[in-house]
Amino acid sequence: MLLRRIYQFLIIYCLGVGLLFLLKYALGLSDYVIPSPAEIGRTAARDAGPYVLAVLNTLAVAVLGHLLSIGLATAVAILGRLTAWIGSFIRTAAYNIQAYPIVAVAPIIFILLGDGLSSRLLIAAMICYFPLLLSFIGIFSEPVADIEHFYHATRRMTWRLEVKIRAFENIHKISTVLVGSATMAVVGTIVAEFIAATAGIGYSIRIALYQSDLAKILVALFLIGVGTSLYLVSLEGLGNAFQARLKRN
């Protein structure tokens, strides 16, 4: 699984870099615009260390933000599954807010909270929160009539049991949504760092952009790709192990 994800990323990365080199040599662009392969190699050797630390920093914030939004989305979706007005209100609000690009709100968060950890964490959580919430509301609001009927008929149904049944029956869907939203959490963190933070790989890319140093940006992109692949593979592994444990007899 890990190798497959890394391969996929490497193919896309090499295609992208290959296209850049094609443009460079076809149009005769200078090393200042698109660096030579040797220059990229030298930059990688020089900056890979600090960049790896920056990627780890970004991933740590992304994971925290992701966990935060999973917890919040689960709690709100459990409330949102209610047929009462509060459930209807939460569902409508989530659909409407989800349609708004959360990144556009990021500057306000930096103005209010500063450029520290809390802003990065909040933006990472917000970016992946609404897709998670909508998926969870859909899952927790959909009755599994063939299983739930017995508990309703015998008056044994509780909200905990209802959530457990619906989560169990949709475990594959939940696992897919979690992996999908993990990418969004990483993207959100990098965007936040790129806008105003003072740490993380997004911040490093911003500095490289000010220096017009494409070699640094390419090295950063490579490390982001590898780091994100590792995180997604870990999540998929956890999801598969959990599903296998549930299905084991």
Partner: protein, 229 residues
Amino acid sequence: MEAHQLSFRYPNAAGELFCNVSFALPESGFHALFGPSGVGKTTLARMLTGELRGFSGEISLNGGRRALYTYNLERLPGWSTVRRHIEETAPPATRAQAEELLSEFGMEGCVDARFNRLSMGQQNRANLVRYLLQEFDLLIMDESLANVDELTRERIILKIKALFPERCFLYISHNVAEVARFCDRILVLRGASKSPQVVSVQGADLAAQGVAPPPERLERAMLEIVHAA
């Protein structure tokens, strides 16, 4: 149980599904609800147990007795084995009865498996066992023995009749010979264009230790059912 002048129409449906349907069932015994597909057997069953409302007319169960409805597509949660699920949902006093039912229903070999590992017939039997262990006065079994072989089905029906003589069962099935042989009263449900919409037929009501009914009695019951339907 008595039903008086029941009328019901699904929203946006062209016509009424039931029009002034009335019938009565004894307090106990193994009875059947028979009729062609789509005539409204499941709808009527859900109305009788209070799962479906919005109809006119009256349904009375003597002394507010408890009615349950089970159907053949029901599933047990997949997170535990059949045995564990039954232990968790059956009243403690019915533990011995649970073992007896599982054994009689031919489930000994698969109670420690999870529900999704069972065949469809085993799934239906496991589902029926957990309902039989609940407190009820009327149990409506909607195709509950579908996908179960004939001999096992016979054993199960006779066991139910022997173990719960004081309770009332309404068995929904499309098998004319089966309902005619094992059931006491057979309510034949017909389309809304026919009147009366429910016709009650006397079945052979074969009991576990009873003498097999004379063939002509069985034949007569089957003919009456087919004629009424």
